[in-house]
Subunit: 273 residues, 2 copies
Amino acid sequence: MDKIRRNERMSAMMKILTASPNKIFTLSYFCDLFGAAKSTMSEDIDILRDVVSRFGLGELETVTGAAGGVRYRTKVRRPAARQFISGLCQQLSGSQRVLPGGFLYTSDVLADPEIVDRMGEIIATEYFATQPDFVLTMETKGIPVAFSTAQALGVPLVIARRKSKAYEGSEININYVSGSGTIGTMSLSRRAVKEGSRCLIVDDFLKGGGTAKGMVDLMREFGAEVVGMAFVMSTAKPLKKRISGEKSLMVLELDADAETAVVKPAFWLNGDT
Amino acid sequence: MDKIRRNERMSAMMKILTASPNKIFTLSYFCDLFGAAKSTMSEDIDILRDVVSRFGLGELETVTGAAGGVRYRTKVRRPAARQFISGLCQQLSGSQRVLPGGFLYTSDVLADPEIVDRMGEIIATEYFATQPDFVLTMETKGIPVAFSTAQALGVPLVIARRKSKAYEGSEININYVSGSGTIGTMSLSRRAVKEGSRCLIVDDFLKGGGTAKGMVDLMREFGAEVVGMAFVMSTAKPLKKRISGEKSLMVLELDADAETAVVKPAFWLNGDT
């Protein structure tokens, strides 16, 4: 193989690191891949760290110790997050998307990779520090965002179901009070969650919080710890939810006639960091 | 801003291009971003194309014409795809994952970002040429893989539901014969699909093909063209499915007692390209 130049090494490293967020790559891995000395790789990584930071592409972190190396983390600063979410709010506001019964049509936005990936990055940025072992969502509409968050965190996704499924094996079922006041069942394979693991709940919509409360109860049954809850959108009313401590990206207000939607970025996005 | 060096430009470009597969970035976009001349950017891109190819990281393609520029495409060569799928087959084979009723537990694998992303890249590699406008899946287990495929293709995902939902607005419903022989209903918002658009169907499991046939029928109702069908796993029996022309990544065989699963890579992965 021809000698590999710095610009070639750095570009390849960028792709490899950013394709597996939060995964630690050892220096030796890159030394072997490029046939370069450790000192050379360290220099490469130093320059790469500056590039990532300078162009707002995330964060490159050096991890010391026996299992040390370098890892990439997505990082969306609050002003950039707020700008993106504001644009999305404009797209969702108005009367075009309001459906009979006061519902808002969001299925397209919640399955568009470019939008969903950005939302996943914003949520992951907020919850890296809580070190979740997995992301939990309840089927169906929130799955892409939850998956995208799991990608950015480098952890598995776990999907709770509305019904028992033969192909999930032995399950734990719990009942919960859904938004409409009816009792629903939530079901999850016993194999899906390890006792003592750390769970980040991600879902598309928060109204009364019944479903979210169900997920919290479900995790208690598994002996897992809920370290955070994030939602794409929450309703302004009721103000008091069945859960607390969550972060939503957007807040939905409907006028009295339920004909016009006003969607606003959440307050916590007003930060500088 | 300090002058930006080639290795810095190339690394940043790599991240930007690979984060939005199949999206065309104009040369001017990068010229503005880096304050560099077009000739310089062309040289950068030439080197970057070689790096991407040399390290098996995908494909960089120059698009000529008025809407021209450069785009990144994921590309998994058949030998690499086969190697990855073979490893996955080993993980899924045996008796550990076989459930009562002859089902196979795959929910963890189907929601693990590292595995799912690779499967999405393999499927996208096969179907780039068919130029799908969107990916269609049926809830629930196939959503992550379908979303990952949509990410790699740079197109939206559309999710068909098992029930009408008030928040989907006006819908088209069709009936289909599910695997167990019962009649199911499949539902999709009228807003979700444009007439004349091109659809790639992606789902997790293919047995008799009833659900897949339902999705094909559904697309006919929308006046959309199905350009391809891909599944994570199909069963060896029945050999004859209700659909044809699909590609599955793996084939599942259960022994007579339904106690041991044998999972094999699909034949079409035996290529060289």
